[in-house]
Structure formats: C-alpha cells, structure tokens
C-alpha cells in the first residue's frame, strides 16, 4: 500500500499550511482535496485579511491562496485534486475516490482539515430555489463569476453575512436588507459599517418568517422577535427580493474524525461536534490531527497557524525536528494564534454583551444595532477625537480612523511611514492618531485597512469645502470631475460631492482611494460616495430629493 509520512485531507488554508510545514522539514507529504481547485475557501475570499504582518494581514484571501500553492510546490508537496477521501480506517488507512477508482493509502500521520459546512434554518419556503447559503453565493460570484441574484436578503450579521453582503454589492447586486435574530450585529463593526454606508439597512431582532414564491423566491417576509424569539404580531414586513442568503453559522465537517473513532466533544463555541484535540491539534488517536474549521470554527488566519502547528508536530513525531527546535517553533505559533484569538470577538469574549472597549470607552451601540457609528458616538474614539475639532481648522491632511472595537489587526500602524498611527504591542488595541501633523496624505493607511475604516480629511481644501478620501472597491471607478452624492455612515445622502482625485496603485491592491469634495459641514459625516448612475443601493437619490435643494 502506498504510504506517506503525512496525509493531509483538505487543501484549504489549514491543510496546505500543514503540508508546507511538514514537507519543509523533509517529510513525504500528500494532500487530497475533492475539489478541482485547491485553496479551500481562500479563493472565494476576495477581501483583505485582518491580523498582523505575520498573519498576512491586508492581503486578500485569494492571493494568500496563490502564495500557499507556490510554497507547497516549492516544498515538494503532492496536491492530489479531484480526490475524495471516503473513509478513515484503523491503522491510519484511508480510501480515496480518484480516477474512477478507490485507492488505498496509509499515513504515519494524518491531518483532517476538511473545514466546515453552512448551517441552515427552516421557514416556510426554505427549500425554494433562491434560498442559498451565503458561502454558496460567494462561490457562485467569486469562483464561477455568476451573480446569485439581483435583490438579496442576507440572513445573519456575522462576519460571513457582512463580508458576503459587501461582495454582493461589489458584484452589482442590491442587498435589500441584512437581518439577524440577535439584538446585536455578530460580525466586526468595520465590516458592518462598510456595508451600512452604501445604504443597506439592518434589521436586528428580526427573523425570516417566510420565503414567498411558487417555483423560486419572489419575496420574503421578516418580522421582529421578542426576548423568547417569538414574532411580535404586527411587525411583519414584506421585502421584494429574489434571493435569500443564509449566513447563520458554520458546522465543523467532522465526519471523517468521527468515522476514524476520535473522541468527540460538542462545544457551542466551536460550532458543534469537534474532535477533542491537544494544543497541537492531535486527536485521541495518536498521529491523527485536526486543524482549521473542522477542529472548531474560526477563520483562515488561525487555520493556517493551526496547520503549521500540526505540520511541525507531525515532523517531530517522525523525527525530523528535535524537541528543542520544536519547542521554539511551537511557542512562536502559539503566540501568533493567541493574538488572533484576542479581542472582543475572540473565543473568550465571543457572545458576551460587552459594554466597553479594553480602553474603557463605551462601545458604539448604533454600530452594534444599526451597523454604523453615529456622529455623536464616534467622537469618543481615539482615532477620531484627536483629529477633527469644530473650533480650529487643521491645516493639511490627516487620517480619521473609525475603528472602535478591539479586534486583532494592525496593518495601519505599519502602513504609515510617517509614524502618525499607533496601535502598540497589543494587537487588539484601538489605533490612535499620535501625530496628525506628520500625515503626508499618502493614503497607505486608507488602502491597507482591511476594515475600510480609515479616511483622510483635508479641512481647508477650498473655501467652505473639505476633501475626504475614502477607500473604494466598486467598479466602475468614479472619474475626477464627476458629480455624485456624499453619503453618511448610514448610507443616507447628505449632499453633493465632486470627485477630485482617484488614486490606484500596486501597493493599494485594488483598493482605490477616491477623494471627494464636499461642503465643510459634512467633514465629520460624509463617508461614502455614490455615483448617480447605476446607484449601489437605491433610495438615496430619493432621500436627497426629500431633503431638498442640497443638490447643487
């Protein structure tokens, strides 16, 4: 029987990282994946990752996927695609369906890195075509170039729901609403805010009651729920949608681990039934490892580190790494992993209704409940308070950082060559603009912020006008001289805007910096630009018309 020193099941971020690590120590490694392309979810993830430089922060997921594939090739890893592992048996034997046959392999070590599957919720009409997983929508758009629908209802406001909503907008869909049965938005505030500012409304404490339609979705009915998750009579609302995306959580795909006889544990915080693992990801069966979502739902950055850990432990088991060397390496990995698990969305604090940031600042409630920070609340955060002041006009350009939650992310600190942005050693601290005078207006912070939460303000751009530079990831890009609308954080039009500059560059990696000129009084409120033709989210033009006369 063909035998490898490490068999990896699943060529996603965890599996590839483990394979690269193990192979780099000299191990004979093979990776099986049932898909036609490797990379797992990475190639669907077109957004920039959070974290620090060593976590590959501010790099888009699919680019990380490319890098991993290259590294795997260089390390001599065999990646066998269209190869479905059918079973894990005694003595670490697996059967693989490939080339229209069943092939048997044995591994001295096996890593199960099969990821997760999407959860579903049921409601009348949930089996209609047009009700799909948010991950499925992502696959359609980003792998197959297919728009999942035109008018979308997103159910679930976790990071998956928020990130996919943004991608749907980028693909040219209308996101009619994002709803969540919880009373708080589940994902990162910065993800919520970048969607909210395009005009997408959030309905918290709302659930889907019904998908309407005979042969496919033609509408949705939502309603508000009380503390016991019961619909409050009279709150039902009909939405005109053709697609309903469910982003209601992921479940570890732990079937192979169960099949192998691993001791399992059902943990809500990990997303369900997962194998009981050591800190190295080793299951109750010696030499059988799990890493990534299959061991507990997290995200790709931590999956990659878990993979590295499993790969290096396998290398130690196989005698390629000495204990001391391993200890050093493992300590680095564990520290890196611990960093990603810090913050208000980390395992320890997840699901807890926090009221303050680590710095003691009350959290923005509008951000948690409506997806954007209102103007009153933004004032109290360090990225903001030290810059804009109504009394004195600042000369030149300076950054405004609307990052108000403790999340493990610090590319802005590295991006600023002038040293005017500081986060400090603790990766989850809120960024502070330490010395706004130094700002050169280069915009690197704007394009490097994975949360698209940094803006540049030039208060004395022209008499009575300011220039606001913002990250922009929609096509077509606006052109200098173009007239459009300035939207506030909630997506409401506040006034007209004129594009004065559009910057693009390799280092910005597709995040254009659009500079718009708006009335000075909107310096603290205008945060998005909407083109008048082919508007993103609808409604804003009317909203502006209702305000009357601001269109100049």
């Amino acid at each position: 029987m063909k035998r490898y020193e490490l068999i990896v099941i699943g060529a996603g971020p965890a599996g590839l990282s483990a394979a690269i690590e193990a192979a780099s120590w000299g191990m004979k490694v093979i990776v099986f994946d049932e898909n036609v392309r490797p990379g797992g979810q990475l190639f669907k993830q077109i957004h920039k990752f959070f974290g620090s430089k060593k976590h590959k922060a501010k790099i888009r997921g699919f680019r990380i996927g490319d890098t991993l594939l290259k590294e795997a090739e260089q390390a001599g890893v065999t990646v066998q695609l269209k190869a479905t592992v059918m079973g894990v048996f005694n003595n670490k034997e697996i059967t693989v369906m490939m080339n229209d046959q069943i092939e048997h392999f044995k591994g001295d070590n096996i890593l199960i890195a099969t990821g997760a599957s999407e959860n579903m919720i049921t409601f009348p009409g949930w089996t209609l075509p047009g009700v799909i997983g948010a991950g499925a929508a992502q696959t359609l758009m980003n792998l197959h170039g297919v728009k999942p629908g035109s008018k979308i209802l997103m159910v679930g406001s976790g990071n998956v729901g928020l990130v996919v909503s943004f991608q749907l907008l980028q693909a040219g869909c209308e996101v009619v609403a994002i709803i969540d049965a919880s009373s708080r938005i589940g994902g990162y505030g910065v993800h919520a805010a970048k969607v909210a500012r395009t005009g997408v409304p959030y309905y918290l404490s709302h659930t889907i009651i019904q998908a309407e339609g005979e042969d496919c979705v033609t509408g949705a009915v939502i309603g508000e729920v009380d503390d016991h998750w019961q619909i409050i009579e009279g709150t039902q609302k009909k939405l005109d949608v053709d697609t309903i995306c469910l982003a209601v959580g992921l479940s570890p795909m732990s079937q192979l681990a169960r099949m192998a006889g691993c001791e399992m544990i059902d943990e809500a915080v990990k997303g369900g039934l997962v194998p009981l693992c050591s800190e190295y990801g080793e299951t109750s069966i010696p030499g059988l490892f799990c890493a990534g979502d299959v061991a507990g739902i997290e995200e790709a950055s931590s999956a990659m580190i878990q993979g590295r850990i499993a790969g290096s432990v396998a290398a130690r088991r196989a005698g390629y790494i000495l204990d001391q060397e391993f200890a050093q390496k493992n300590a680095d990995f564990q520290e890196s992993l611990a960093q990603l698990r810090e913050g208000m969305f980390g395992a320890e604090k997840k699901g807890k209704n926090l009221s303050h940031t680590d710095e003691g600042i009350p959290l923005s409630l509008t951000l948690l409940q409506e997806g954007y920070i209102n103007e009153a609340e933004i004032q109290r955060f360090p990225g903001f308070s030290e810059t804009i002041s109504s009394e004195t006009k600042t000369k030149g350009v300076y950054p405004v950082i609307e990052c108000t939650q403790n999340i493990p992310c610090n590319p802005c600190q590295d991006a600023c060559q002038q040293g005017c942005i500081s986060i400090g050693d603790r990766i989850t601290s809120l960024p502070i603009v330490t010395d706004k005078e130094k700002c050169s207006g280069c915009g690197m912070c704007v394009s490097s912020c994975p949360g698209q939460a940094i803006f540049l303000i030039e208060e004395n751009y022209e008499e009575d006008y300011v220039a606001i530079s913002l990250p922009y990831e929609f096509l077509p890009l606006p052109q200098p001289g173009e007239q459009g609308l300035a939207l506030d954080r909630s997506g409401q039009a506040v006034g007209s805007a004129e594009i004065v500059k559009v910057r693009q560059g390799k280092a910005m990696d597709e995040t254009a910096i659009v500079t718009m000129k708006v009335r000075a009084k909107y310096a603290a409120s205008a945060r998005f630009y909407q083109q008048l033709e082919g508007c993103l989210s609808g409604g804003s033009t009317e909203a502006l018309a209702m305000k009357g006369g601001e269109l100049e």
Binding site: E34, M97, E103, T122, P124, Q255, L256, G272
Partner: protein, 106 residues
C-alpha cells in the same frame, strides 16, 4: 456511555403546529410534524428517529438536516440539543458508484 433514559415519559399529547408540514430532511422529504410524532412514538434519540423515518439517510447523509432534526427532537423532549448525540458517521463520505467502489487500487 449514554445516559439513562426512561422511555415512558409523559410528553403530553403531540399537539399539531402550523409549521408541521415544513420539510426538514430534504433528501428523504421528512417533515417537522413527522419528526415530532416520532418522538411521541418513543423515538428519543437521533439514531432511532433516523431508523424510524429515514431522516439523514439520503444522499447528503444528514449534512444539512442533522442539526435541524436535533433541535426539533430536543425541543419535543424538553432537553438541550447538545444532550443528543449525532448519528454515527460512516464511509463512504460521499456517494460513490458501485462500479467505482469495486475498482480498488492498493
């Protein structure tokens, strides 16, 4: 080892609910009402419900419905879903044609 369960509990009558006709297991087209009735018929765990109704026995082998079935059964029994063990996972992980299955390479 699984915990001791008395099978003659008084769960009360199985009162019809207006979403009883909701399909839960899509592969085998099993409804919520059927699952609830199965619990009242004495099927107190996911394995028995599966054997009784075929929930999770179709092409996807419970990939989609196992959590859904679990929450319905748990609710009917008045316990937490986590108290109910999922049905066992078995090879093959994906459906496979007999022809392919029979063609082994060692």
């Amino acid at each position: 080892m699984s915990k001791v369960v008395e099978r003659s509990q008084d769960l009360g009558p199985c009162i019809p609910q207006n979403d009883d006709d909701l399909i839960i297991c899509r592969c085998e087209e099993i409804t919520k009402g059927e699952i609830r009735q199965a619990v009242h018929d004495g099927m107190y765990n996911l394995t028995e419900v599966k054997r009784y109704l075929r929930t999770g026995m179709g092409l996807c082998q419970g990939q989609t419905c196992s959590r859904l079935v679990r929450s319905i059964v748990a609710k009917e029994l008045g316990i937490s879903p986590a108290e109910l063990e999922l049905t066992s996972a078995r090879s093959p992980a994906r459906p496979i044609e007999m022809q392919t299955y029979s063609n082994e390479v060692w």
